[in-house]
Symmetry: C2
Subunit: 418 residues, 2 copies
Amino acid sequence: MNIALLGFGTIGSGVYELINLNKGKFGSNFTDLESRKSSPVITKVLERDITKDLGDSVGVVVTDPKEILEDDSIGLVIALMGGMDFEYEMIKACLKAGKHVVTANKAVISEYFAELLTLAEENGVVLRYEASVGGGIPIIGSLKEEMKINRVTEIKGILNGTTNFILSKMTEEGAGFAETLALAQSIGFAEADPTADVEGYDVSRKLSILSSMAYEGIIRDEDVYKRGITDIRAVDIEMTSSLGYVVKYLGHSILDGKCDVYTTVEPVLFKEVSMMSNVNSEFNIISITGDIIGELQFYGKGAGKDATANAVVGDALYILNIVGEENLPRPLRLNRNLNKMGTGLFKGKYYLRANIDAEENLDQVLTAVETVASRKTVIVNGNSVYVVTSPIAASDFNEMAEKLRESVPEIFYARIYE
Amino acid sequence: MNIALLGFGTIGSGVYELINLNKGKFGSNFTDLESRKSSPVITKVLERDITKDLGDSVGVVVTDPKEILEDDSIGLVIALMGGMDFEYEMIKACLKAGKHVVTANKAVISEYFAELLTLAEENGVVLRYEASVGGGIPIIGSLKEEMKINRVTEIKGILNGTTNFILSKMTEEGAGFAETLALAQSIGFAEADPTADVEGYDVSRKLSILSSMAYEGIIRDEDVYKRGITDIRAVDIEMTSSLGYVVKYLGHSILDGKCDVYTTVEPVLFKEVSMMSNVNSEFNIISITGDIIGELQFYGKGAGKDATANAVVGDALYILNIVGEENLPRPLRLNRNLNKMGTGLFKGKYYLRANIDAEENLDQVLTAVETVASRKTVIVNGNSVYVVTSPIAASDFNEMAEKLRESVPEIFYARIYE
């Protein structure tokens, strides 16, 4: 069986090195003797930029998808183009053509999860997507394993390397958000358009995939409450740090009862002495809680060429090793009707900074806070007020804060994790 | 296929609940329809204490091993008796009788690893031992997965729940070692004879299993340098804490070059703001480093009935799902000749406390330290001296300290992790 690769970007080239250039131990890990003798290689690469260097490739660059879809020697397609519509169409076409698919595309998986799983099952092939969440962290496989015995009721984690790099750098160096984002962009840790990372879409897609799997129903990206980190300033890091906290960008979902799901993606304050606050730079951590196993946490590189390629190639190996077996693994069921309940179950004290340049601002801030919580600490310093509140439900604080933003535009707030 | 259970202790009863009393989701996770219709159950329990309550068991207690070995309806044996010789003989006999085996027995696996793997392969059956390391943490399976692509060169972790509970409690409450050990014993977190835990045998067995797997050769328990934690006193916690450190009991091995393996099990000081120092109570953490994936860390309950039973039943499910498949997973190879190199590769500053009741002790301590390292900090307080040294190889410090112990018996020391 041959392999086709869709896209030859950073991860694609990493996958190519592992499979075709034998950089890892891919070639020596097949259970059946036939594959061990002549281990499968990538024979075709779909890449619209035909000037790209594929090194001493045994494969050929093709620009027409049909060259892959209609090639019966290709049994496995690795989809790493990124983006949405074209990759979605390609994955669908490959599954329909009876080809196994491995992808790292979190946008496509989170948007079309149930449809693609059904399509794979109908066509007797396997769809794998380990690299779509947590880069090199084996979270998809581990979650599936634990779900065989456990009812998983909670998922939380630092799921985005770019924003964790930015927040870690700001914390280490007291730097501002804009300059740190620019630094991240200059060294390839953030994209030219950083929206998906800093506004939470990347995290909410990953959280939607894990939550859909764990709670066995569909939680879409748009079902997840999310709030970006673009409002954070060096002074917030300084102030929260002096209180003993570290700012992290957390994705968090809870299954309450049988069908009620609470989700949030937002900046959260962890105690300086905690595991979460010591996950730095591009590293990710993902925690899952099951009724038998208790809490498990998985830590590793959430991005990067080699780590992500490792996860992709792990999926490919898995598929190549089960080909021809009588009983394929049971497909996931995503047919439970889940209620999307918002953020009301997440509770904690809040840290709030607001600009009080205008005379009436201080009053507006304190009045707004008092409508929902009692204020425990208030510090006025220069043109800013800093408030730490009593414990309050996230839904109530969020609503108050977004209303406050209409009259006091420059605010940042984060829940203190309990 | 039926299942037999050897031993009905804490974990055994947890396994029984998951499989026979359907506490988890075991019964609904078989890939082939036959098993799904009438999922395998435990039909016999070998237990020498026949007065034990098996609840409303469908199984029967047997006292004669032959009842299991010669019962052809039993295809899978779960060995949870603990101890060494009898369980080793039973596992061997079961494999030879063509029965798959799942065990949590780290002593047996670490001592007879290669022999038992070979025996399983020769008899066309599978031996699984996920629960032998890290309790509920899926480290054995994850390590195997990563090894398919990576060369793993380093393993480290907090691998013993009892000692981590003791050290965490001492740190939280400023309590002494003896009283905290007694507390741990009274609540069932430490055994009546705590030697295996507090002297490092439990950790070194786990480290030997992981290291043998990762480096593909045999590292035995007795190949691992180990030092217990019984010398630690409340004052050590207080002093190292004031320096910003937390004491953890660390197992650590490194593969250097192709065949040189360095191992150590000893108390180590981690910065208060680090992941390791925030792993508390009975929780464990295990870090593995591969050449492609980088560092991965796995965190969870290292002991306890449900978490450990979860790992055991996961192994059982794995086996039940691959029965009848044409290609069994490739067995591990443990045939590389590894050189056991001691502790020389582990380096760091050292914290040392010594009792200086006798007049000549202070001189003896300072002179001894100066033979191997320069001393950076010396504090004399009451009848003790506290020293922090310059960086030094563990092998050199260990040798010096054990010689010093001849003249100054009451000492405690720990490397500062770098």
